[in-house]
């Protein structure tokens, strides 16, 4: 490992700084009552629940809050779409 690589590997403060900036940006927005990911999650689930009975146990919600892009992943197991 080069000397430069050595310093790069040891310096963890920039990672801490970036993690905090992303986290706090999201948390400050939430205090203002605009947790977009939570609103979308609830509304998407409500729309689907109008058409099919959703078993809460079969719903997996995954979220990754990023700096410029966040991803919301909702995985719903829907019963009875195909009639036997």
């Amino acid at each position: 490992m080069s000397l430069f690589g050595f310093f790069k590997a040891r310096n963890t403060a920039p990672v801490a700084r970036e993690r905090l900036q992303i986290l706090l940006a999201h948390e400050r927005a939430m205090v203002g009552g605009s947790d977009l990911a939570a609103i979308l999650r609830e509304e998407i689930l409500a729309v689907i629940a109008k058409h099919v009975a959703i078993d809460q146990e079969k719903v997996q919600v995954k979220l990754d809050r990023g700096g410029s892009v966040s991803t919301l992943e909702i995985d719903i197991e829907m019963p009875g779409l195909v009639k036997n």
């Binding site: 403060a13 801490a16 993690r19 205090v31 809460q56 719903v59 919600v61 979220l63 990754d64």
Partner: protein
């Protein structure tokens, strides 16, 4: 047979969350199924120390209130499949936690995991009492410093009177985890020694975690220290503590960080 463990201290900033993450990860590395639960409602930090802060969707209070199923709220660690996190709520206040709700969640967690590790908030109020109430075993985190030892003594008193075990008339098992210990300063008489703290608190010793810059490095990275730097002194101390938790007899020593010649030169120059 699953075990519920509370990591508590009374005083803030002594290393409860760091220790919860490290003990949880070390148990997971040993093949145990582990969940770490943050009880610090409104001021959660375990998610950050575990590096899962971007992935929290549901939390303990959502499960207590029935807004989410337990399985939906559990966040699986990306580095170790045996390790899961249940986050505290950041936006609700601590009155949202009810003792019936906590009892229900702990019961469900006992079915899924070998170890349920509850990270207590500082203080002696509702959150701390709820975190300790269902515990089978308490890890009292203490720094070799007067205010921390005093607060630990207070917490030990509460563990003996305000927990389900105490109410049943059973003896609450308590062990001491001495953190931020500086062997050189203790030897010089500048810091309370291990024996001093043990004599004052008179509970068995689980481990001695030396003061180390590696702890800050791990929290910067969002990784339990036993995962990010297993060779570091604190990581070895936590790994030993976990072997003792599992019933092994491990000689009590204080690990030291092995510094390279370059790092030694650097720290000498800074000093």
């Amino acid at each position: 047979m699953s075990k519920v463990l509370v990591v508590t201290s009374g005083k803030g900033g002594v290393g409860k969350t760091t220790s919860t993450a490290a003990l949880g990860a070390a148990l997971a590395l040993a093949g145990q199924k582990v969940v770490v639960v943050d009880f610090d409602v409104g001021l959660r930090n375990l998610d950050l120390v575990m590096g899962a802060e971007r992935r929290v969707v549901y939390d303990l209070i959502n499960v207590v209130n029935g807004d989410a199923k337990l399985a939906q709220a559990l966040i699986r660690d990306k580095r170790n499949d045996n390790l899961s996190l249940l986050a505290a709520s950041q936006t609700r206040d601590k009155d949202a936690l009810t003792s019936e709700g906590v009892a229900m969640v702990i019961e469900q967690l006992r079915e899924k995991f070998d170890w349920v590790i509850c990270d207590s908030p500082a203080g002696i109020e509702k959150g701390a009492l709820l975190a300790m109430y269902h515990a089978d075993l308490a890890v009292v985190v203490t720094n070799p410093e007067v205010s921390s030892v005093r607060d630990s003594d207070r917490i030990i008193g509460m563990l003996d009177s305000k927990t389900a075990k105490a109410e049943r008339g059973d003896k609450m098992e308590k062990v001491l985890l001495l953190t931020r210990y500086d062997q050189v300063r203790a030897a010089r008489g500048e810091m309370l020694k291990v024996e001093d703290v043990l004599e004052i608190l008179s509970i068995p010793l689980l481990g001695i975690v030396p003061e180390s810059e590696e702890v800050l490095r791990a929290s910067n990275l969002g990784s339990p220290i036993v995962l990010s730097n297993p060779a570091s002194a604190p990581a070895r101390a936590y790994a030993d503590a976990v072997r003792r938790l599992q019933g092994e007899t491990v000689p009590m020593n204080i690990p030291v960080d092995r510094k390279g010649i370059f790092a030694k030169l650097m720290s000498w120059r800074v000093a």
